[in-house]
């Protein structure tokens, strides 16, 4: 196949301005750093995915026969830790956010470009520690590190795993800090708060959580390490400590962390739905407010992970009530996306298919959250596969769909090339089908009572587990496809012009790929966000 003419021949951009490994490893260009993150987290996504596949293969039969019990325990631990801390949390903010936020607000770069590069190196160091942990046997505490198992009983690499996450956490804190300062101080003239794309609002809300929540995780993990190495006894009842204290501290971060993972995805979907409906997002102000409301309320619901843990009856009532409050802004978002499509001009390009998938699967994940917040039901389904299915609908069905959809949407901007549309649609379909087949049976398994983290299980659960494993293999194919054709498109894809979707937003008003400082001259914004009324109509999709 003939190589398409390179867009780089025409003008200098951030990709062709300098070559060589040094120009990448020492770059302070937010767009290049975004690509460094992309490489890093894609690597960890496939590591974590590999563990997931082994888990699903083990669960094909009721007996523990593929791997040993300890190995299985390490597989789900490493799967969780890698996916949460080295893929989901950095994914949209550190890749798409890094690339897009400065461009979307009309800035040349983030406020602290060198801190931005430092954040990436912190994630690399954390990642190396995580790889060291994995290669020296791994940890087997579950990603949740519950003591006293993690502090006094586990015979695995608990401290290095905790250290890996501790270091990665600082990457997250610094990225959040960078975004907050950038969004406050670096907006182009005329880019008021009420004109910010919702993707920027979403990352702003996310950054607040990263900055306020992550230090608590760091403290907690440090206490676990001190307990384990020096028997401080903070969480050890034998020494007057309290294991429930750990759970409070851990979930104080780790529940908001769920919103770190999903809010940026909501931002992506807002951009995509608006673009492919060619409409201003319905209820812009409520959408922005809902993001902030989720970020704030998200800090007040942590103990809903602990309804059977031994907290007081009245504490449980309060946390159940607050959990229902945080469901309201999530509902607002789903309704507004749907309303945005009303009387739109809708095309079914690949990013839009992912947005459809996101809305559907996030709705399922959100609605099953109502089950879990209901105290009486939670007692039965907590710590079962119902919970596994619920949070995978949010994390994988929601967040990963949004991330991959976002990659497709902004790929022409990032690479200057189009991905192959037909393959894109096929992969989206495969992922949607594979995902549902993997995780829907787990809702049923959970209500039947199959506990999570079980290496072997009772034979009556087998049929549903086989369905789930079959789904996981389909899902795996769906995830490999985009990686292949994205790589392919970098050389052979159709050259993209600056605005292939006819989308609103400053990022579509500069070249694809953008020049190093994003704009030749600082834009002056005189229009509202999602100004589709005044954009020329794009051709009908073939």
């Amino acid at each position: 196949m003939a190589t398409s003419p390179t867009p780089a021949a025409e003008r200098e951009n951030y990709l062709n301005t300098e070559y060589g490994i040094r120009s990448w490893l020492l770059t302070t260009d937010h767009k290049r750093i975004a690509l460094l993150y992309l490489l890093l987290i894609t690597f960890f996504f496939f590591i974590g995915g590999f563990f997931a596949l082994l888990i699903r293969l083990e669960l094909l039969t009721p007996a523990g026969d593929l791997v040993q019990a300890d190995t299985y325990n390490k597989l789900f631990t490493m799967h969780g830790q890698v996916m949460v801390f080295f893929f989901l949390i950095p994914a949209i903010p550190a890749v798409l956010g890094n690339f897009l936020i400065p461009i979307m607000i009309g800035a040349k770069d983030l406020a602290f470009p060198r801190i931005n590069l430092f954040s990436w190196y912190l994630l690399v160091i954390g990642g190396l520690l995580m790889m060291y942990t994995i290669l020296t046997g791994g940890a087997d505490t579950g990603w949740t590190f519950y003591p006293p198992f993690s502090t006094a009983f586990a015979k695995s690499q608990v401290v290095t795993a905790a250290l890996a996450i501790f270091v990665a956490g600082f990457s997250s804190i610094l990225t959040g800090l960078n975004f907050i300062v950038t969004i406050h101080r670096m907006r182009a003239p005329g880019m008021t708060w009420s004109r910010l794309p919702l993707f920027v609002w979403a990352n702003y809300a996310t950054s607040i959580i990263q900055v306020l929540g992550t230090p608590v995780l760091a403290i907690t993990l440090m206490l676990v390490a001190l307990d384990r190495l020096f028997a401080f006894g903070i969480f050890d009842p034998q020494r007057g400590g309290d294991p429930l204290l750990f759970q409070h501290l851990f979930w104080f971060y780790s529940h908001p962390a769920v919103y770190i993972m999903i809010l940026p995805g909501m931002g992506v979907v807002s951009e995509v739905v608006s673009c492919f409906s060619r409409k201003r997002i319905f209820g812009y102000k409520f959408m922005a407010l809902a993001l902030i409301a989720i970020a704030v309320l998200g800090f007040l619901v942590w103990a809903h992970h602990m309804f059977v843990a031994g907290i007081s009856l009245y504490a449980a009532l309060v946390f159940s009530l607050l959990s229902y409050l945080v469901a309201v802004p999530s509902a607002i978002k789903v309704f507004n996306w749907t309303a945005t499509m009303y009387k739109g001009s809708i095309s079914y390009a690949t990013p839009m298919l992912y947005a459809f998938g996101f809305i559907g699967l996030f709705t399922m994940g959100g609605l099953t959250g109502l089950f879990l917040a209901a105290l009486g039901v939670d007692v039965h389904v907590t710590d079962t596969y119902f919970v596994i299915a619920h949070f995978h609908y949010i994390m994988v069905g929601g967040m990963v769909m949004a991330y991959i959809g976002g990659l497709h949407f902004w790929w022409p901007k990032i690479s200057g090339r189009m991905y192959p549309e037909a393959w894109g649609k096929l992969a989206a379909l495969i992922i949607f089908v594979g995902f549902n087949l993997t995780f829907f049976p787990q809702f049923v398994l959970g209500y039947l009572g199959m506990p999570r983290r079980y290496w072997q299980y009772s034979p009556e659960f087998q049929v549903l587990n086989v369905l789930s494993t079959a789904g996981a293999t389909i899902l795996a194919v769906g995830y490999v496809l985009p990686m292949v054709y994205f790589l392919w498109s970098m050389r052979y894809g159709k050259v993209a012009d600056e605005n292939p979707w006819g989308a609103a937003g400053l990022e579509w008003m500069t070249a694809s790929p953008p020049p190093t400082f994003n704009f030749d001259e600082t834009p002056v914004v005189t229009w509202e966000a999602y100004d589709y009324a005044n954009l020329k109509e794009v051709p009908v999709e073939p």
Binding site: A331, G344, L375, D378, G449, W455, E460, V540
Partner: protein, 333 residues
């Protein structure tokens, strides 16, 4: 087919029906909500598909709609909250006269001590129609007592008692799972709850040679030397434990607390933490000296010393008999 591929768990306790009712309500409600949203998306996607000559109609939004779709869900959510809370409240409040079973969880087994003295591992026999209160602790890490057919689950923690209760309604053998990850053989920390007809259960009870738990506790109370200070006749150097259980206690730091199971437990293991007002912290520490099972026996014995007629949860289990119901559960053998 459905033998090997069930789609609904068995219902074998008084709690299960209520949980299922709310679950089915939520399935219906959320199913309708999801279908409504999916249909809207599909209809919009089809009806407003991009076509030549038609442009999108720009709509800013609608405050009325926003308030509706925040307000209506909020009201519905509050309803679900109250319903869920009502079930939970009942689940967390054991009836006053429940039969008590002490449970010690450890890596990776369940140990049960019946008041009548029977001890079991990974198998729990209970009768139909009787409120059973599980008083549970762990010897090592956190475990969780989970019986899907009863729809109950409660984490079991080291260093304290947690409580769960149920009333079985259907004879049979049901899964008992550990639901909190606890290490290598977590998935092997399973057992059976055997629910029996009351008559069969009596038969099962009479099968063992064991002494009642409170009596075992009494022997420990004597052999460990507790009785030298905790005297019942004259004021000893420790508080008189007669009728002490579930009563308010004034501590030497001025606080008043209830002498519940967790307080008794703590005061045996680490007596100096909460000393009763007027006494000196002279009692030796028993942490690491006695086993969890011995501790349970001691607690059961101290609870059996409550003989007052107004009655507390301990009354039903006094070795000297009880004024109400099923005396065979309380008999001294």
């Amino acid at each position: 087919m459905f033998q090997t591929f069930p789609l609904w768990p068995e219902r074998a306790s008084t709690t299960a029906g209520g949980v299922d009712a709310l679950f089915i309500f939520l399935l219906t409600l959320c199913g309708l909500m999801a279908i409504m949203i999916f249909i809207m998306i599909l209809v919009f996607a089809a009806k407003y598909r991009r076509s030549r000559g038609r442009e999108a109609e720009q709509i800013e939004g609608s405050n009325a709609l926003e308030l509706t779709w925040s307000g209506v869900p909020l009201v519905i959510f509050m309803g679900i909250f109250v319903w869920g809370a009502a079930i939970y409240f009942k689940e967390r409040t054991p009836p006053q006269d429940s039969a008590e079973i002490y449970t010690v969880a450890k890596q990776w087994m369940w140990k049960f001590q019946h008041m009548e003295g029977q001890r079991e591992i990974n198998e729990l026999h209970v009768p139909i129609g009787r409120d059973v209160k599980m008083i549970m602790t762990s010897q090592d890490v956190i475990h969780s007592f989970y019986v899907p057919a009863f729809r109950i689950k409660q984490d079991v923690l080291p260093g304290r008692y947690t409580v769960a209760w149920f009333r079985a309604t259907k004879a049979g053998r049901y899964h008992l799972f550990c639901a909190e990850y606890c290490g290598t053989s977590h998935s092997g920390m399973i057992g059976d709850v055997v629910v029996m007809q009351p008559a069969q259960y009596e038969q099962w009870l009479s099968g063992g040679p064991a002494a009642p738990l409170a009596q075992t506790g009494k022997q420990l109370f004597l052999s460990l030397g507790c009785s030298t200070c905790h005297r019942f006749d004259v004021q000893g150097r420790g508080p008189n434990l007669m009728n002490a259980y579930n009563r308010p206690v004034l501590l030497d730091d001025g606080r008043t607390i209830t002498a519940d199971e967790n307080y008794l437990r703590e005061s045996i293991l680490t007596p100096a933490v909460k000393v009763v007002s007027g006494f000196k912290p002279i009692m030796p520490i028993f942490q690491g000296i006695i086993s969890e099972e011995q501790l349970n026996a001691l607690v059961a014995y101290i609870k059996s010393l409550n003989q007052s007629p107004e009655g507390t949860a301990g009354t039903r289990n006094t070795p000297t008999g009880s004024p109400t119901g099923q005396p065979q559960m309380m008999q001294v053998q």
